[in-house]
């Protein structure tokens, strides 16, 4: 693959400033507790980065909730932990007002909206299955299955510890492609608020060898779009003539999916 360290580094260093409030109904103290301010890596998942917040609030909640799972809510919407932080941020906040105000809950788990995440291992297995799915699309899964389990572990630890080199030392293998063919399919997910993400098959090149661009993808899979709608990847609006292959190699999340957020004008 063409490795563009400059871009990869910028993407990796993406952070989101968050301000976490404890939900008032869970609060055991008289005065409202101080919110917790945190820089969260965009590429990570909330369950991996909320240990400090959880520890901070545990002192303030009633003892019967000590074992409960913490879940987050933004502007009334429960956040799905299995989406990368950056995707959630782009969908729910969009950088309109920073920091991103979140509310931490320890009770009333929204069973119908969220799946439980009791341990980090659940995130890990979700992450690994995403990786495998992505590699299945890109290389028919040949690369990920040929990796040793210590490589899998290194990918995961690289993500957890926010270690660019540790992660990319392995991930570069997953991003390999022949220059003339590219990936088999581009693994992407097209998110939009209040809708399930769209995931289809799309090739990096057309039959006649032309590079498929972001515009082609949007034209095909975005049924309605109007002036002023934003298409955001990694928090930025990418030029629509950018080739998908390049986007997939450089702007994908660690799960190797290109998460595209479609944000209609009214929201």
């Amino acid at each position: 693959m063409a490795e563009d360290r400059e871009i990869l580094r910028e993407v990796w260093d993406g952070r989101v400033p968050v301000c976490v409030q404890l939900a008032s109904e869970d609060c055991n103290t008289l005065s409202a507790p101080d919110p917790y301010y945190l820089m969260v890596p965009r590429l990570s998942y909330f369950p991996l980065v909320m240990d400090k917040v959880r520890k901070h609030f545990l002192r303030l909640i009633s003892s019967d909730l000590q074992e409960a799972e913490m879940w987050l809510e933004s502007d009334g919407m429960p956040l799905k932990w299995h989406y990368p932080v950056g995707v959630l941020f782009d969908l729910h906040c969009g950088g309109a007002s920073l920091p991103w105000a979140l509310t931490a809950h320890f009770s009333h788990f929204p069973e119908q909206d969220l799946i439980r995440c009791p341990t980090r291992e659940v995130v890990e297995s979700h992450f690994m299955s995403s990786l495998k799915e992505a590699d299945g699309l890109k290389h028919r899964g040949q690369i990920i299955t040929n990796m040793k389990s210590k490589d899998h572990k290194q990918l995961w630890m690289g993500l957890c510890n926010d270690k660019f080199d540790q992660f990319w030392a392995i991930n570069r293998k997953l991003m390999e492609s022949t220059p003339e063919e590219g990936f088999k399919f581009i693994p992407f997910r097209l998110h939009s608020p209040s809708q399930a993400p769209i995931q289809r098959l799309i090739r990096p090149l057309t039959e006649d060898g032309r590079r498929v661009t972001l515009a082609d993808l949007l034209l095909e899979y975005l049924s309605v779009s109007q002036e002023g709608d934003r298409v955001v990847i990694q928090g930025i609006e990418v030029p629509h003539d950018t080739p998908l292959q390049w986007l997939s190699e450089h702007l994908s999340h660690p799960d190797n999916f290109l998460h595209i957020c479609y944000i209609p004008l009214q929201s």
């Binding site: 563009d4 910028e10 909320m50 690289g158 660019f164 990319w168 928090g235």
Partner: protein, 1362 residues
């Protein structure tokens, strides 16, 4: 991988090249000849022209092809006249060859073809065996076949002197006609030509094989095609079996020849080998059933063929093995039909396959061709844009104007103000004529007379031309044609209109073109002479002056010359007649060429990849435009990066610590924490490999810096043990693959053991490479990134071809780092009462450790140990044990578990309940102990302090702080950190401005680009420019030894004391061929084992060298006393690696030297010696243009083998192949190439290299002895003699302040001798200029060093890194 070219011919007969690093076909300069077929080799193209003659195109190399013609003038003394040229009838001729057997009258020595030109007139050679001769250059002897001496003696009856004259091949980068078989070229035109060879076992790599087929079906071989004679000497007929007339022939690189007969069968040449390069017989191979073959392509291990019905066939059952002689392995077993339909097929040097498809005539490449899968997978079309020949003059004609019309345009230049071009033309014409005259007038020594005549001819002809041009259809031959003898009347069609041109696709315009060229060139000359200042009648209304002026841009001269060259070589057979004859056709050109079809629609007719290296897994950028790895200039990429940065500014920066707007800083969700890589290996401990688990623990921050890293090895040797190696103490990381025992070693050099690495052993190469990579990367990030090495870097090459450098110039940041590294606090956890801490740089004299403790109120005792390990069973070099109950401090040692003699000291102010600072400093003989910075006592060494690795503190204390200083304040050679750079080289040279060049084992020249990645030293992610692939070839050798005995002659049965039948060069080690393995997994074999016929010292025809006994001087001829013999076998292997190097094309050098001083224009002259021994200088090398712009030749009388550019103007030294030193005089900043060579004697043994710096000149001879030139003074730079310095030197280098660096073959240390040690001479003073000894650096196995620039002593150093 260096770029190479694929060539193809289109339906118009034009030739196009496609470079592997471009994605565009480029037309070769069109010279008026169309081509039908091409056959490429790496440096040369052979082609079949539209006129059915053979042409050769030699790529212009920076190094000229020069041949020295020599003739000896012999004289005999007689009592009356003294020495005269009158010789006895039994004597040799007055002018003869060196052996006197052939007569060589100077005037009969002529240029072989007009592709050559003389460089100089005949002149005398003034040296004899290294001695300068007197003015007339005579050498004397008693009688003829004797030894000649420089002095004339009383009995000198004969004398001789040597005349030399150099000729140079001038038809570079242009087509040159190869002389036909008969004088009349049309008598037997050619129908096919193929070039191959270069990899015939045992044969010179530059000896090529050229086979051709004539229209009569005869197979011809061109003899004598090699590096110094690209067009060969003569055609030789190879008879074919009866009724087997051949239509097409193909010769492979290993010399295999397959020819297709008229009836579609194939005949294969048998018995091709070094002794008989043309083979000795034919064997018929039947075509595939029901088909007749049309064409074959022969590779190294495969053969492809096309039948007349366009089907493609792959020959099964071939074996690439060179030694294979069985019919099957040469001919294969059966044809296998492949998918696809082709017109022709071609094979590359590594069995890659190209073809031209039959339906749409596209050029195809076979994908997936690998050594294990020679048949490949699919055909893939190469559809790329086409750049046509850039015609220097678009002289107002239509855009499709071909060069021919432009030439005619050139001819029409008559305006008076264009004097310069006329000069050029004049010059050009003279050149042609000078060439012609040599051929035509062999009886005359000087061709001047003839030249004048010819000049007149031209004038006359030009007049005729003018006449002819006036008439529309004047095809009548002018009178001058009558003069020419046996003018070959090549069948030349002159199409009446464009339809005939199209129909005859590649009809022959050569003659016509040349005629027009001659006419056009001569016309202005004539016009100038005849009617200066007047516009010619020829001036065409459509020709615009502006276009003409554009035409005569500076490069026009070259352009015209190249065409003239072609013209001259075409006419080399004295066939001037028809050329002149067609002068009248000039007027036709305009319309004809204007009607050429627009060249958008190419129909490819032929393709040849004989010189094109591609790899299946690394195809060139030919297929998809996005293949180019870097998108840095794409607007969307720029946009994305811009927005990402904006995102950073908006969303991250306001909340991060750097901005103080917020009262508090947002906490990082993920703390920068340490991370570790772990694995399994074996560790060399107690003289055995023990299984160990290895762990690299890195402590870093978010931005992937490594603040600190430690390599931990846990192993068990009766008891569990841990070895800690701090990353700061690893100075050199090397990989060593020992595939014979299935072990790959990672060697870590540490300043305490500079010549003996700590070694990790891994079971697979990949694993070892990964670890090497991890460790090297950790070292690199720990020490901080730097853009490129400064010009003061010292470069070192290992015997394995790996490259390292140490940058002597440290930035302030690095100095701080050095200080930080040398003096540091060891990590002690808060409130610890005991600790065992690693002293990562040991505890040599100069080191210092200080332990600050708080002694408990009721303390009884505590101790501080300096010990050799972590555990309790280790040796203790000093045990400091204050015992408060007894009010005494005990000092002691412990060795192998036994305490030594106790020494007692008073407690000074060590008292319970207070802080106390115990510090130990290591001195040469003892430890100096102090308490609270006051001297306390000393303690004599009982154990070597170098063994100390840890400090241990235990007892009734709380440790506050432990500091450790390893005293690296002044940088020692063994403290240098060596950084690896990718690539594989034999020689590296750097000089002023940090210009660094390198030469690989296959003599390719590479220029350093400044990055660091590549090869084994790649980062986890490569830099933007991506990997540059490099390749190199090396030879592996084994020696076969035999002893003679009276009964059986030479046999392998030797005496018991003898060496093994198969051995290495020294004969000490048994080396059967099977035991020779590839150095690493990046290598692959490219040949089988062959006898080496180029062993130094000469060999007989079976490759043997004889000697009276082992190990003695070997010689190539057997004398009666010789009882032993040996011969060398070699096998070639090839590495593919990567590195930050750009290959300089078209040049092969054996030595280079980058000047440490800039020339007056700020450029850095780079000297080189070509494989043929020519000395060249590269000009225009600048800081930002490391490749320079042009080569100039520095002619020398004898071939050179090495060159060195010294500091001062008078110090360019070279060594000739016979081992003599030469000093170049007149080298100044203004004239970087100098003026003259001066011969300097050698120190007994022949020299191999001479280098100078800071007024000192050093020379290395063949026996490995280093000498210093005595009495070298600025006014007398030659010096007077040689003084021996030291033996066993492999390589040396001298820097600008005169420091002498060397690599020693063996170096004696306490623990025996080690090989390949890099050293610096110490003790060089004015009173002792040869120095006193060597100081060694880190690491072993070095093979070359380059240290040309030294850091100036002044503090202000210009920052070369910017």
């Amino acid at each position: 991988m260096p770029s190479s070219q694929l060539f193809a011919v289109n339906n118009l007969g034009r030739v196009f090249g496609l470079s592997t690093d471009e994605a565009c076909w480029r037309e070769l300069d069109y010279l008026g000849i169309e081509f039908k077929r091409l056959s490429a080799h790496e440096s040369v193209l052979w082609a079949l022209g539209g006129d059915h003659q053979v042409y050769v195109y030699v790529y212009g190399s920076s190094v000229p092809i020069r041949v020295c013609e020599e003739s000896y003038e012999n004289q005999r003394w007689n009592p009356i006249e003294g020495f005269t040229g009158v010789l006895l009838p039994s004597d040799r001729a007055n002018f003869s060859s060196a052996d006197g057997l052939t007569s060589r009258v100077l005037s009969t020595i002529t240029l072989p073809t007009l592709a050559w030109s003389w460089e100089s007139p005949w002149h005398l050679h003034y040296t004899h065996e290294g001695q300068a001769l007197e003015k007339e250059g005579w050498t004397y002897a008693i009688d003829f076949p004797r030894t000649y001496t420089a002095e004339k003696r009383w009995n000198s009856c004969v004398r001789r002197r040597k005349w030399v004259r150099y000729r140079r091949y001038v038809a570079l980068d242009t087509w040159s006609a190869v002389p036909p078989i008969h004088q009349d070229a049309t008598e037997e035109p050619f129908i096919d030509v193929s070039v191959g060879g270069g990899e015939v076992p045992g044969e010179d790599p530059d000896r090529l094989m050229v086979w051709a087929v004539t229209a009569l079906g005869r197979v011809m071989v061109r003899d004598g095609v090699d590096g110094s004679c690209p067009e060969g000497c003569r055609w030789t007929h190879i008879p074919t079996p009866p009724d087997m007339d051949v239509t097409s022939v193909c010769v492979g690189r290993s010399g295999r020849v397959w020819a297709v007969t008229w009836d579609g069968k194939v005949i294969v040449r048998m018995g091709v080998n070094r002794d008989c390069p043309v083979g000795n017989g034919w064997v018929v191979v039947e075509p595939p059933e029901g088909s007749r073959l049309q064409q074959v392509a022969v590779g190294v291990q495969a053969v492809w063929a096309v039948t007349r019905d366009h089907r493609v066939w792959f020959r099964r059952g071939l074996e690439g093995s060179d030694s294979a002689t069985s019919y099957n392995s040469i001919m294969g077993t059966s044809w296998l039909m492949m998918v696809g339909s082709l017109n022709s097929v071609s094979m590359g040097p590594n069995d890659q396959v190209w073809g031209v498809s039959s339906e749409d005539t596209l050029v195809l490449v076979r994908t997936g061709v690998t050594p294990s899968e020679l048949a490949g997978r699919t055909w893939k079309p190469i559809s790329l844009p086409i750049t046509t020949c850039e015609s220097p003059s678009n002289s107002g004609q239509s855009s499709s104007a071909s060069p021919q019309s432009s030439v005619s345009g050139a001819g029409k230049v008559t305006s008076p103000d264009t004097t310069a071009p006329e000069d050029i033309n004049l010059e050009g014409v003279e050149k042609v004529l000078a060439g012609l005259s040599v051929k035509d007038s062999v009886e005359e020594e000087e061709g001047k007379m003839k030249e004048q005549q010819e000049d007149e001819n031209i004038s006359g002809k030009a007049e005729e031309k003018t006449d002819g041009a006036l008439q529309d259809e004047s095809l009548a031959p002018p009178q001058s044609m009558v003069e020419s003898v046996d003018s070959p009347s090549i069948e030349i069609k002159y199409p009446e209109d464009c339809s005939s041109l199209e129909s005859s696709g590649m009809s022959d315009h050569a003659g016509e073109y040349v005629a027009s060229l001659l006419a056009s060139q001569s016309s202005p000359v004539n016009d100038l002479k005849a009617t200066p200042g007047e516009p010619s009648e020829l001036e065409d209304g459509t020709t615009q002056k502006s276009a003409e002026q554009q035409h005569f841009s500076p490069n026009t001269k070259e352009w015209i010359e190249s065409r003239l060259r072609h013209a001259s070589s075409t006419s080399s057979q004295g066939s001037l007649g028809p050329l002149r004859g067609e002068v009248g056709a000039l007027r036709e050109e305009g319309p004809i060429f204007n009607l050429l079809p627009v060249e958008d629609d190419h129909l490819w007719m032929w393709v040849t990849g004989g010189g094109c290296w591609i790899k299946a897994n690394n195809m060139p950028k030919w297929f998809v435009s996005e293949g180019s790895p870097v998108h840095s200039s794409e607007p969307w990429r720029v946009n994305v990066l811009q927005r990402l940065r904006q995102r950073h500014e908006e969303q991250i920066e306001p909340f991060s610590g750097s901005v103080a707007d917020f009262a508090f800083v947002y906490e990082e969700a993920v703390e920068g924490s340490s991370w570790a890589i772990s694995g399994q290996c074996r560790w060399w401990a107690s003289k055995q490999w023990v299984p160990a688990s290895v762990e690299l623990v890195m402590v870093g921050s978010r931005r992937s810096q490594v603040k600190d890293a430690t390599l931990l090895l846990h192993y068990s040797l009766s008891t569990p043990a841990v070895e800690e190696i701090s990353i700061g103490s690893i100075l050199l990381v090397a990989l060593c693959v020992d595939s014979s025992v299935g072990r790959s070693l990672v060697a870590l050099y540490h300043p305490n053991y500079p010549l003996k690495p700590k070694t990790l052993s891994f079971s697979t190469e990949t694993e070892a490479e990964e670890w090497l990579n991890h460790i090297a990367l950790a070292c690199k990030t720990f020490r901080g990134h730097k853009k490129r090495p400064s010009q003061y870097a010292v470069w070192g090459l290992t015997a394995q071809g790996n490259l390292y450098f140490h940058d002597k110039y440290l930035t302030e940041e690095e100095l701080r780092l050095e200080a930080r590294v040398s003096h540091k606090e060891l990590p002690v956890s808060e409130g610890a009462t005991s600790a065992v801490l690693l002293l990562d740089r040991g505890f040599r004299p100069g080191c210092f450790v200080s332990v600050l403790v708080e002694i408990h109120e009721r303390a009884e005792q505590f101790h501080v140990n300096l010990q050799t390990g972590r555990g309790t069973d280790c040796n203790i070099a000093i045990h400091i044990n204050p015992r408060f109950s007894k009010k005494v401090a005990i000092l002691n040692t412990k060795k192998k578990g036994v305490w030594g003699q106790e020494e007692k000291q008073g407690l000074m102010n060590i008292t319970p309940g207070r802080h106390c600072d115990v510090s130990v400093m290591c001195d040469d003989d003892d430890f100096k102990l102090s308490i609270d910075e006051q001297y306390w006592c000393s303690f004599k060494h009982r154990l070597p302090p170098s063994a100390i690795t840890h400090v241990a503190v235990r007892g009734d204390v709380t440790i506050t702080n432990v500091t450790y200083n390893h005293g690296a304040g002044e940088s020692q050679l063994t403290d240098w950190y060596w950084r690896g750079v990718g690539g594989h080289f034999k020689r590296v040279e750097s000089g002023a401005c940090g210009v660094t060049w390198a030469i690989s084992y296959d003599f390719h020249v590479y220029i350093y680009t400044g990055e660091e990645e590549g090869g084994l030293c790649k980062g986890s992610i490569t830099s933007e420019s991506g990997d540059r692939l490099l390749s190199d070839t090396r030879h592996m050798y084994v020696w076969e030894n035999q002893r003679w005995n009276p009964v059986t002659g030479f046999t392998h049965r030797g005496l018991p004391t003898d060496r093994n039948t198969w051995s290495d060069q020294t004969g000490r080690h048994h080396r059967p061929k099977e035991s020779i393995r590839l150095p690493s997994r990046h290598w692959s074999w490219t040949s089988e084992w062959c006898v080496d016929y180029h062993t130094p010292g000469g060999v007989d025809k079976e490759g043997w060298q004889y000697a009276t006994d082992f190990p003695f001087n070997y010689h190539g001829h057997r004398y009666v006393t010789d009882l032993v013999r040996r011969r060398r076998w070699f096998r070639k292997c090839r590495i593919t690696t990567s590195g930050p190097w750009r290959q300089m094309e078209k040049v092969a050098l054996i030595d280079i030297s980058v000047s440490p001083m800039c020339a007056s224009d700020g450029t850095v002259p780079v000297w080189g010696v070509s494989v043929t021994g020519e000395v060249v200088v590269r000009l225009g090398v600048l800081l930002d243009c490391h490749q320079g712009d042009s080569w100039i030749l520095v002619p020398a009388e004898c071939p050179m083998m090495s060159v060195n550019a010294g500091v001062h103007s008078h110090s360019v030294w070279a060594v000739s192949k016979d081992g003599r030193a030469h000093l170049r005089l007149g080298v100044t900043p203004g004239i970087p190439q100098g003026t003259q060579w001066v011969n300097v004697d050698s120190p007994g043994h022949p020299l191999v290299e001479v280098a100078s710096g800071a007024g000192a000149v050093w020379g290395l001879d063949r026996a490995g002895n280093l000498h210093r030139r005595t009495n070298v003074l600025p006014l007398f730079p030659e010096g007077t003699g040689w003084e021996l310095v030291c033996g066993e030197v492999i390589s040396f280098s001298v820097d600008t302040i005169g420091s002498l660096w060397a690599v020693l073959e063996s170096y004696n240390t306490e623990n025996g001798s080690v090989q390949g040690v890099m050293v610096r001479r110490v003790g060089i003073t004015p009173s002792c200029p040869i120095g006193t000894g060597w100081q060694h650096t880190l690491g072993t196995g070095w093979s070359a060093v380059c240290a040309r620039m030294s850091v100036p002593s002044t503090v202000s150093i210009p920052d070369a890194t910017d």
